[in-house]
């Protein structure tokens, strides 16, 4: 009977699906999400993911603030975001159900573990009655209730596993069900489980059994009328891996070390959501990376500048509060004109703010957050995989121009993942550090501040005979680098340093406008909102609207053609996950341009549907 049912079912081809797995911190949702992501990647889909977990490490089970989620958006087309609204919500308990239901697309599928909807759990989630019994639920969503607790127990009967260990397997039930629903390769996952738990064969066996039970339930039960298939997308040929923004950032720096044969030195102090950069790079000792977990952020950047003084490629990674602490040291790197990359993985602020939630609100501190006149280049990565290229680019700029560079990413990029096509070495940006080895003064001396035509000073490192010199944070003579309190020399130095940073524009590509080159509306984005804004513009153009998109990777200096681009559109809309920081900067730099702000500061990425609605109102 069951096979007949299966045969009678239609296998429907669809383009794009977003699934969100939500449960308790201890329910294994991150694992479930990543396993499903891998399967989608192997099936050739383009995809983007976003994990969302609580600030508390082990929040009480069943509590509203202990809900952990993982969203994956997979498609046969290009995707730029982890998806606005899930099409499928897998909720493992009432708390997860309560905190996520509002996001589920109307008409979407709600798969709930009804076994977790016990009186105690309902109470923890603040329910007086069981919400699954609300008839409105069925009107809005396709509700599938499965007692996964019981099903898991049944699948493990006689396995000898403790009931606690057995209960831990239930996420594999949900995974199995999703595998069936989206026609994923069952055997592949069985192999993956066996590999993952190779050291604990009894756990591997149990997880496989539960996974299969979930899969078979899809096959045999009559709840599902359809099975879906998302065909492979036309990704560029190559070898791929899935990568998060933080891992990509780390890898970008390791690539620099490999490419240049120089030491990349990361001095850092743990802070969410930047910590994984330090974690990842700590494993890269074999590849020319030295990591140093400093006693605080100041020491993190201090050690990195020290390393750069010594000829290594200094990097420091942090998030908002850490960048605040690094401000004084950044000034030192600016005046000493030493290469350095400061990665700031932005999060909700001010102060401790919302550490696990994303925000784009550190643009001001990146551009202006130092005392004195201290301009420096600022680059923002636009996607998880772009973090790789942005890290390399930031270092390329730092060593070429002898300057600290701030690289902005954010929590959304840092934790989100997407397929990363492993580039060929020839496709990588060229980082070319150069040391001074010869005296450059007219009288056979070494002048550490004698500049070339681009105003770049030489980099002579300790160990080089004859070029011994002393520099520091005090204003320096424009040639010898000796301390100088001469007012006119100071003015000259301030202007020279500023001009040098303006000269960096030769390495800033022109802004590319996607869509009509002039017309009604230009959406101007920067950083991590790239995907949402690009998707919005594409969706609006598909509806025949004149909406273009341009994305600023360079926040300082800005592309040469930016002014002209802004003036080619009747309306410029700047969507940001902050209260309007880029809009403020644009108004200041391009008098006469008054961008329309679109701001969301709710700790989440921009929603395509919401932004689209807003732009439609403007058209």
């Amino acid at each position: 009977m069951s096979t007949q049912t299966a045969a009678a079912r239609k296998r429907q081809k669809i383009d794009t699906v977003t699934i969100r797995f939500v449960g308790d911190s201890g329910d294994g949702m991150q694992l479930t999400g990543t396993e499903f992501t891998k399967a989608s990647a192997l099936a050739g889909n383009d995809l983007a993911t976003f994990p969302d977990y609580p600030a508390e490490i082990r929040a009480p089970a069943g509590s509203l603030f202990g809900v952990s989620g993982y969203q994956v958006h997979f498609s046969s087309k290009d995707v730029h975001t982890p998806g606005d609204q899930p099409d499928v919500l897998v909720a493992m308990n009432p708390a997860a159900f309560k905190t996520n239901l509002a996001d589920l697309r109307v008409g979407g599928m709600l798969l709930v573990n009804s076994g977790a909807f016990t009186a105690a759990n309902l109470e923890k989630a603040g329910y007086k009655s069981n919400p699954l019994e609300d008839p409105a639920l069925k009107q809005n969503y396709r509700v599938v209730q499965v007692d996964m607790n019981q099903a898991t127990e049944a699948a493990l009967q006689g396995s000898g596993l403790s009931s606690k260990d057995a209960a831990r397997c239930k996420n594999y039930y949900a995974l199995g069900l999703m595998y069936w629903l989206y026609s994923r390769n069952e055997e592949q996952q069985v192999g993956a489980i066996q590999k993952k738990f190779a050291k604990k064969p009894e756990i591997a066996k149990a997880n496989v059994a539960v996974f299969k039970a979930g899969y078979d339930f899809g096959e045999t039960s009559e709840i599902f009328h359809e099975q879906y298939e998302v065909p492979a997308s036309k990704l560029r040929p190559g070898t791929y891996r899935n990568i998060t923004g933080n891992a990509a950032t780390a890898l970008g720096f390791a690539a620099v070390a490999k490419q240049t044969g120089r030491t990349v030195f990361l001095g850092s102090y743990p802070i969410t959501p930047a910590t994984e950069i330090l974690h990842e790079m700590s494993y890269m000792k074999a590849h020319g990376v030295v990591t140093y977990q400093a006693e605080d952020e100041i020491a993190g950047i201090g050690s990195a500048i020290g390393a750069s003084f010594g000829g290594s490629l200094g990097v420091t990674s942090t998030s908002g509060p850490g960048l605040a602490l690094k401000a004084e040291m950044l000034g030192l790197a600016v005046i000493a004109e030493l290469p350095l990359v400061v990665v700031n993985v932005q999060r909700g602020g001010p102060s401790t703010g919302m550490p696990t939630k994303t925000e784009q609100a550190d643009l001001y501190i990146a551009l202006f957050g130092r005392h004195g006149e201290a301009p420096l280049p600022v680059i923002a990565a636009q996607s998880p995989t772009d973090c790789f290229y942005a890290a390399m680019e930031a270092m390329k700029i730092a060593v070429k121009w002898m300057t600290p560079v701030i690289l902005l990413t954010d929590g959304y990029l840092a934790n989100g993942s997407e397929p990363f096509r492993i580039p060929d070495e020839s496709e990588l940006p060229k980082v070319e550090p150069k040391y001074q080895t010869e005296k450059n003064g007219p009288d056979g001396s070494y002048l550490p501040y004698m500049r070339d035509a681009k105003l770049i000073r030489p980099w002579a490192i300790p160990g080089t005979p004859g070029l011994e010199h002393r520099i520091g944070g005090l204003e320096k003579d424009s040639l010898s680098g000796m301390v100088s309190y001469d007012g006119m020399n100071h003015e000259k130095m301030v202007k020279t340093r500023a001009q040098k940073i303006r000269n960096v524009v030769e390495d800033v590509p022109d802004l590319v406008v996607d869509g009509p080159q002039q017309g009604e509306v230009l959406l101007l984005s920067w950083g991590g909102t790239y995907g949402s804004v690009r998707t919005t513009a594409e969706a609006l153009r598909a509806e025949g609207k004149s909406v273009a998109h341009a994305h600023l990777r360079w926040l300082n200096p800005m592309p040469k053609n930016l002014g002209a681009v802004l003036k080619s559109f009747k309306k410029v809309v700047i969507p940001e996950v902050n209260d309007g920081q880029l809009a403020f900067v644009i108004r200041g730099r391009f008098p006469g341009v008054d961008p329309i702000q679109y701001n969301r500061i709710n700790g989440k990425a921009l929603k395509v549907s919401e932004l689209k609605k807003r732009v439609l109102e403007l058209l």
């Binding site: 192997l42 074999a286 100041i298 020290g306 492993i422 160990g463 520091g472 944070g473």
Partner: protein, 352 residues
């Protein structure tokens, strides 16, 4: 990778025969006449030609304060960083370039107030960094405020009614933080200071050298009670490795361990049956820092002399060596991973 201080083998042979002049940058120091800093730089410049390291491989790093102008006056590589932050800068330099000899020149305010955190971590890590702290018990550069080493009750511009805060005892702090070399000297004792600096240069690991320094402008005579000719012999106790702790004009005073109170006490040889054999024999090489700490705390009680010399000098693996070792091990493990292999990591798939 060579991580020695260059006192051995081939490297030493290649070091030119320097004179003091080779270490003078030609920039005139801006210290006030009579400042103890003059004597310190004089000794450092005298010692440098003797340490067996090429000039270009020596780096002086400082924070902010009068004393921190030091690097400008040396003819080495140097960096004048930020207030209190020199140890962080030095640490990054040392970890990434273990072959360099790295010195940190700092003041009591710089090292122990704003830089307290960096200082203790620099000591604990046991990177081969030598921190020379000029202790004038005052903030000089900002014109005379209390510092973390100013004595209780000290009147300054910010403590017109006397400082209510207990001071740090710097050598004890360094020992507590795990420094493997801890010493003290005095600006007016040039030869002694030179000896201590030379020992520090030869030590491989975190070294702390406190130099008691007079600031004639804002804290004149802070150490007169120790250094004035008439009292010096009774007030300064010179610790010498392997020698009993004796001091005093006629060399008759000494330090003995009272076994009941487990305290060090001052005794006089010849009195109450005390002989030289009863005195503590100085040994800075004890791994356990208890003795060194007792000595560092000796002058905290009235009536006790102030020890100068080396409190502690022990060998432990340095952080930069352990780090270099890990790099070698990881390199050996991963073989010659090329760029592509490195970028690929472990889980990949192919799209054709």
């Amino acid at each position: 990778m060579s991580t020695t201080n260059g006192t051995n083998g081939a490297q030493a042979a290649a070091v030119p025969a320097y004179t003091k002049k080779d270490f003078e940058s030609g920039v005139d120091p801006r210290w006030c006449p009579g400042c103890g800093d003059w004597s310190i730089i004089n000794q450092v410049q005298k010692v440098m030609p003797t340490v067996g390291v090429k000039r270009e491989n020596i780096v002086f790093i400082s924070g902010i304060g009068c004393s921190s102008r030091f690097p400008y006056y040396m003819n080495n590589y140097g960096m004048h960083t930020l207030h209190g932050r020199a140890p962080s800068f030095a640490s990054g330099l040392k970890v990434s370039r273990p072959e360099l000899q790295v010195w940190v020149m700092t003041g009591d305010g710089d090292a122990l107030a704003i830089g307290g955190n960096h200082f203790i971590h620099c000591m604990r890590r046991n990177l081969d960094i030598k921190v020379v702290m000029f202790n004038n018990r005052i903030y000089g550069l900002t014109k005379g405020q209390v510092s973390p080493t100013s004595e209780l009750g000290k009147k300054t511009k910010t403590t017109p009614f006397g400082s209510p805060d207990q001071p740090f005892n710097p050598p004890a702090l360094a020992l507590g933080a795990g420094a493997t070399f801890v010493a003290r000297s005095v600006d007016v004792e040039g030869a002694h200071m030179g000896g201590v600096l030379k020992s520090a240069a030869g030590h491989k690991g975190s070294a702390f050298i406190e130099v008691l320094q007079n600031c004639p402008i804002f804290n004149d005579g802070a150490y007169l009670s120790l250094t004035e000719k008439s009292v010096k012999a009774d007030q300064l106790l010179r610790m010498e490795q392997g020698k009993p702790l004796v001091f005093g004009k006629d060399g008759k005073k000494g330090i003995r361990l009272n076994r009941e109170t487990i305290q060090l006490e001052v005794v006089t040889i010849g009195e109450g049956g005390v002989t030289e054999k009863d005195l503590v024999v100085h040994d800075a090489t004890r791994e356990d820092p208890t003795y060194s700490t007792m000595m560092a705390n000796l002058n905290q009680k009235p009536g006790f002399p102030t020890p100068i010399g080396v409190f502690r000098d022990v060998q432990r693996p340095t952080a930069e060596d352990l780090n270099a070792q890990q790099v070698q091990e990881q390199k050996a493990k991963s073989g010659k991973a090329d760029m592509k292999t490195m970028l690929a990591g472990s889980d990949t798939w192919v799209v054709s």
